[in-house]
Structures are given as C-alpha cells and as structure tokens.
C-alpha cells in the first residue's frame, strides 16, 4: 500500500571560501554608443552566471542587460577570478563588477557634469541616460556622453576593480572567528509516497523557499533551485558509487549508477524569500550550492513521516526502506503481549 508522508528541512550555507582570500576582479568598458563590455575571469559552467554579472554591470550603468556584452574565461584577456566555486560568483565577482562599473560611471559623470551644467555628484544613470537627480528632464543619452568622453575629452569610460569578502581567521583551538562574509538560508518540504510492500519511494512534490538576497534574475534562481533539487533526489534515493573488496569501482557507468532523470522529477514550487544583504551587489548573496543541500533531509523526513522508519544512511534505496519496514513490523509483532 502506498503511504504518503511529508518532511521538512532547513539549512544555512555560506558564500565564498572559508577564511581564505578568494578575490575577483572585473573590467567594465563603456563603448562610444553607450553599450558596454564586461571582462571577467570567471567561467560559465551552465548556471547563468555571466547573464547575472551582465545584469549587475547594466544596473550600475543604468542600461539594459542586452547592452552589456560579457567576455569571460581567458587568462590572457580577462582579469583574475577565483572562479565558479563556493556559490561565490554573484556575491564576490558581482561586487567587483559593480565597483568596476561605478568607476566607469564616475568618468561619465565627470564628462557629463559640465555638459549638463551641474556637479558630478548631482547625476545618476538611469534608463540609458545620464540625468540630474530630482530633475530628470535635464539629461543626455549615455551614448552621447560616452562618445564625448572618448572622442572629445580623450577619457574613455573604463573602470576596473576587485573585491574580496572580509573574513576573520578562526582560532585553531576553538574555531571561533568570522569565516565567511555572509550566509543564505533555505527550507524545502518534500511530499513522498512510500510503497510499504516494495519500499519504493516516489517524490510527489517539493516546495522550496530559498534566500539569495536580492534575486538579480529570478528565472535563473528558479533554474538553480530546480537543478539542485534533482541532485538532491539522486543523493537521497539513488546515487551511490560502489566498490568491490579490492577497491575497484563496480558501477562506473550510467547503466548501473542510477541517477534521476526528468521522469523522476516531482512538481516543484519555488519561492524566493524576501531578503536584502547590504554587503552584496544590489543586495544579492548567492544560490548555487544551497539548492541541493536540504533536499535529501526533507525526503528522508518524509519517508519517516510516511512509514515510521528512520533511514540513517543514504541513499534510501527501496531495499533499505523495505528492510527497515519489515524490521519495524517484526518488532511491533513482538511487542504484542501474549
């Protein structure tokens, strides 16, 4: 008989390296027409980070995402970056991109101020214009200013900057310290069906509420959460590298190493928790790794809720779940008084 259960799990996860410096640098070049080029040493590994970095540069310059072209991942051409690791790209590289874009913007403001008859600190960049704060009617297209800066003033709008999250080393005896600049939080709730005759677990639905600070791109956050959950399901129920007694792997292939496919995916509801981190670029933190952290815990708690057995080792394969159910039944039978 199929028994339904639900399980909850929450988590916290840090952004960036533990104590160690993990800087990122960035270069932002505003072209003569007001579009821009961003140079970053990070690598697009499928998560959409380059799009997010482009959005951060665009936001800082008051232009649109499509106005920014991102050049990445060439050690000859792009600046230093610690790379796509530790859920750090949006936060660390993002901060560097924002600082670099602001430097380029400062040049534009310096050039635009006399053109608009105000001081540079009275200006803002918005909707592809350089305009006077509180009097946006006085404005110039960003392209006009960028062209003037380069062609007339001989001062191209280029900015470069780097960022490293501030940390405090951990005491070797007590571990006390500030190992990370910031953390994200999340909760996932899983609903499962457990067949108590076969031990088979079917994940029906997962509700995921994740904090990433400001969602620079909500669609990509949702994508990360969905992908993370698929990894979490494999970790919870299916995946395991097995070794023979001589230390050789016995299932190093996708026939015998079972992992979730699209057919195993449950219905997923993603919520982005309202949050703003003043230390992140436009309030953003990160989301990459945390998305797969609470999934297994939530599923295992749901199995416990459904059939009353606690599986203490992953993965919770059908065999393991069925054995636990049978052991529980035997124990319950024994308890019946004679």
């Amino acid at each position: 008989m199929k028994r339904r259960g639900r399980g909850i799990a929450c988590m916290w996860y840090p952004i960036g390296f533990t104590v160690s410096a993990n800087p990122s640098a960035a270069v932002v070049k505003v072209n003569e027409d007001g579009t821009a080029t961003l140079l970053t040493g990070t690598v697009e590994t499928g998560q959409g980070s380059l799009t997010v970095l482009g959005q951060i540069a665009a936001e800082a310059l008051g232009i649109a995402t499509d106005d920014v072209h991102v050049v990445s991942a060439d050690t000859d051409a792009t600046p230093m970056d610690t790379g796509a690791i530790a859920s750090r790209t949006t936060y660390v590289t993002g901060n560097a991109v924002k600082l670099a874009a602001e430097k380029a913007k400062a040049i534009l403001f310096e050039v635009a101020a006399p053109m608009l008859g105000v001081k540079p600190d009275q200006l803002e960049a918005k909707d592809r214009q350089i305009q006077v704060k509180g009097y946006p009617q006085r404005n110039l297209p960003i392209g006009t200013v960028a062209n003037h800066a380069q062609v007339v003033m001989g001062q191209p709008a280029i900015g470069s900057a780097s960022y490293n999250p501030p940390t405090v080393g951990m005491d070797p005896e007590t571990g006390q310290g500030k190992p990370f600049s910031t953390y994200v939080y999340a909760t996932q709730i899983a609903e499962v069906d457990v067949d108590d005759e076969t031990g088979e677990v079917n994940v029906i639905r997962i509700v995921a509420a994740h904090d990433c600070g400001t969602a620079i791109n909500p669609m990509l956050v949702e994508g990360q959460v969905q992908g993370g959950i698929s990894m979490g399901i494999g970790f919870a129920l299916q995946e395991e590298i097995l070794f023979d007694t001589n230390g050789r792997q016995i299932n190093p292939n996708l026939t015998n190493y079972i992992m979730p496919t699209s057919l195993d995916m449950p219905e997923i509801d993603v919520d982005i928790v309202d949050s703003y981190d003043p230390t992140g670029p436009f309030g953003a933190k990160g989301v990459g790794e945390p998305t797969s952290v609470p999934t297994a815990a939530a599923i295992l708690n749901a199995i416990h809720n459904a059939v009353g057995v606690r599986i203490t080792s992953l993965p919770a394969t059908s065999e393991k779940v069925l054995t636990a159910i049978q052991a529980k039944r035997t124990q319950e039978t024994k308890r019946i008084p004679a």
Binding site: A9, G41, V43, A73, T75, A208, G247, D274
Partner: protein, 464 residues
C-alpha cells in the same frame, strides 16, 4: 590488355576506392545548419532597471540550436588525441613501466610517464596527488602513463600495449579502519588522518547536564559523482615560442593556470588557459586533471593534443563527494529548545586531499544547523583511504550534515511530540544571532523561509 586500357581500369578502381573511402568517413565538418541570423531580443533583456529582470541567457540560444562549442567540438590542424592508462589496482608499487611496444605502434606520436613531469604533484591545499603515478599507486583510478596518437582509437589500443609491473601493497578502504594505528598508511610515513577541525562554544557538558532529554544518532552518507554531461576535456598547444595555450573545461582558470605553471615549472605568463562554456561543473572541475599531461605531450610532438575523459574516468579518476560518518548527541529542554550539541564527523578523503580541508571546515561549521545552540562541541577529521579521491562537490559537506542534523531534529520532535515546523521555529537563528564560530549573523531569514515554505505547502492545514 594494352597499356591504355590497364591505366584506365586502374584509375577507375582508384576512383571507386576513393569514393568508398569518402563514404566511409564521418564528415569532418558538421553539415550547415539553417537558423535565423537576426535574433529576436526578448523584452526582459532590453528593459531597465536590469536587476530583477527574468533576462534570458545569450548562451541559451546557442544551446537550443546545438551551436555551443564545447572542448570536444574544437579541432586544430594536426591535432592528436591523448588517452591515459589507469592502474586498476588500488595500492601498489610500480616496479617498471614498459612503453616500447606502444611507442612502436604506427600512429602513436608520444608516450608520457610520471617521471617526465617536471613537478609531478598537485592539489589545492596539500600537493599530494601525482599527475601520473610514477612510484606508488594510491587508488585504482590513478593514471600511470599517457599516449598521444593520430586517432583516439590508436591511442586506446596503445594503452593495452603499455606493460606495467606492479608489486601489490596492503590497502585500506574503510575510513574507520584507516584511523586505527595498525592500518596500512596510504601516504606513509604520514598517518591517515590528514586534517582536523574543532569548534567549541560554551560548555557542552554543562549543557547536557541541564538538559531534560538527551538524543543520540549516527548518520552516514555515500560516495557520489558530479556526473556533468560534459566530461573533463582539454586541448593543449605548445607553440614554437615555448608558450602553451590550454583550452579546458576548468571552472577556475586563474588558479588552474598557477597549478599548471607549478607542475610544468614555467613562468605563469607563458601559459594561457581558455575556458569555453562548461557542460556542468558542480564542483568537479575545480582543479587541474590532465592539463599538464596534454601540455607535455604537445611539447613532445609539436602538435595540439586533445584529451577527453571517458564516463568511466569521470567516476574513477575525478573527484567525488565525501562519504561522512556523523555522530550527533543533543541535549534539549522539555519544550524542545536545544541546550547542547556534540558532533563528530569522519570524512572519507579517498586517496588524495583535494578540497578535503575546505569540505571539512564547512561541514564542521555548518554541522549544528541554522540553530541557536549556546553549548556546542563539533569536531571533524578526514582520513586517507585507497579509493577515488573526494573533493569539492556542490555544498562542500553541507548536504551530508544537513541530512544528519535535520533527521536528528525530526527524531527529537517526534519523541517530544512537537510539530517539526514548530521545533525549528523555536531554535532557528534570528537577525543578530551568533553562529557556532561566534560570528554575528546579518540578513538572517531562516524563519521566513520556514514559514514561506510551510504556507506554500499547506503544512498546518494538512496537519489536522
């Protein structure tokens, strides 16, 4: 038959052969694909302000059209294909390697063994991993020799011709066994425990003494692979100026370049690392693997050399996720408030350190969960075993400890007859809470996430 007829017949025969040859060959270039050159830019990419927009990815269009160029899609004139021979034995001394038969094969351009590598070791914190094992084999997935040949097939065949004479040595596979004094030492003379971490906060014994209930549990996790769609891949091209360009699926090129420079004993400015779009990383592509091997094969042959891991190599010879044995002991008050917690984590490090120190640290810091616990003692240690090395993988130990602390939390809630949501809300961090390391936390929204998820799920409604 006269001379003329014979010549004509010969030319016809040659032509037939040529046609058959062309028909048999796979096309060297993909057939042209027709797709609209004028791109429609979605509105979200054109709107300001840019932050908060559901902007599509420019690489998405390329993926959709099958036009993304991964490393394996790249080819350079004269390019060779490299393959690495794997040990297949978990612990052994290499008595000798005979590569002569492989080198004699037509089409084999070069063979490389470990002793030819200028600095044959690497690793992000401990440099304990050889690029090619030259004296000792530490796990079955270790490479022992590499071949560069004109085709991938010849390179594969050449691997079989390389004869390695092994002297099997004692091995240890279980992390708890490996911790014992009499266990075989994986990296003798060093002990098998190669890194530890401790976090102390408050007085854990006092906290247990004040608790109404004590709960204990042991949890274990397994070894898993990242399984990216694209396996590790790289192409190295050593040019006549002594500069080497490496196209690689590496996720962190700046640090990778420094590691490559160290192994090749080259100034950093003579190395260029170019990454294309990576077909999945998840932590598995955070360190160099075959890049220096390909560079040296390219130096030997004067040709670009490509290497792409097989799926088998992805499993056996690239990093995996740490299995962890996790012991939890928690003291709670009658109302479910956690007063003290003791955690002990034993991480299976496999044959090499890789990112174990980072994983160990993060797992230890996060092991108490997002909860206010005044009295905490968490210790973690990582041990060598003669298995595939464990390293960085999405979450650095967090998915493992989250499984433990959240399973443990539900056991406590069930025993005290408290709703799992309520016990979490009772203990969760608030803005300004002190973390296990004493850090004052900001922008803390763990309770908001609990409430939001519960509301969306209908947690309270489903209860009745």
């Amino acid at each position: 038959m006269d001379k003329k007829t014979r010549a004509a017949e010969k030319s016809t025969a040659l032509e037939t052969l040529r046609e058959a040859d062309v028909a048999l060959r796979l096309p060297a270039m993909a057939p042209p694909v027709a797709y609209p050159i004028e791109t429609l830019v979605p509105q979200a990419r054109q709107q300001t302000p840019a932050v908060g927009q559901r902007a599509t990815r420019p690489d998405g269009r390329l993926h959709g059209l099958g036009q993304t160029k991964y490393i394996d899609d790249l080819a350079f004139p004269g390019m060779l294909y490299a393959k690495i021979k794997r040990a297949g034995i978990a612990s052994a001394r290499i008595r000798s390697i005979d590569t002569s038969a492989a080198e004699a094969m037509p089409g084999v351009m070069a063979v490389l063994v470990g002793r030819e590598i200028p600095v044959n070791s690497f690793g992000p914190s401990l440099q304990d991993q050889p690029l090619l094992a030259d004296d000792r084999v530490f796990h079955a997935g270790d490479g022992v020799a590499a071949v560069a040949a004109v085709t991938e097939q010849i390179a594969i065949e050449a691997l079989d011709k390389i004869k390695v004479d092994y002297e099997p040595l004692p091995a240890v596979f279980d992390p708890l066994e490996a911790m014992k004094d009499d266990a075989p030492k994986v990296h003798a003379p060093n002990g098998n425990i190669y890194a530890t971490k401790v976090i102390k906060k408050g007085d854990v014994e006092k906290g247990f003494a004040e608790s109404d209930h004590i709960f204990e549990g042991q949890f274990r996790t397994q070894m898993v692979e990242h399984v990216p769609l694209e396996p590790h891949a790289a192409i190295a091209d050593w040019d006549p100026n002594g500069r080497v360009t490496i196209h690689s699926s590496l996720g962190r090129i700046t640090l990778g370049r420094a590691d490559i420079a160290r192994t090749l004993k080259l100034p950093i400015n003579r190395i260029r690392v170019v990454a294309t779009i990576v077909g999945g990383n998840f932590g598995g592509k955070n360190e160099i693997t075959q890049e220096p091997i390909l560079a040296l094969l390219s130096k030997k042959t004067g040709r670009p050399v490509k290497g792409v891991f097989t799926r088998d190599e992805e499993f056996t010879s690239s990093t995996t996720r740490h299995p962890i044995i996790m012991d939890y002991k928690t003291g709670v008050a009658k109302n479910g408030k956690i007063l003290a917690r003791k955690v002990r984590l034993v991480l299976d490090g496999g044959a090499y350190c890789s990112w174990s120190e980072t994983t160990l640290g993060k797992a230890c810091i996060l092991s108490a969960g997002p909860y206010n616990i005044d009295n905490l003692y968490a210790e973690a240690l990582v041990v060598y075993t003669n298995k595939t090395m464990t390293g960085a993988m999405r979450g650095f130990g967090a998915p493992q400890v989250c499984f433990a602390y959240e399973s443990h939390m539900d056991d406590i809630a069930a025993a005290l007859n408290i709703d799992p949501l309520d016990i979490r809300l009772l203990n969760a961090f608030d803005e300004g809470s002190a973390s296990p390391t004493g850090q004052v936390l900001h922008s803390v929204v763990v309770k908001d996430s609990l409430l939001k998820a519960a509301e969306r799920f209908g947690w309270k409604e489903a209860q009745s």
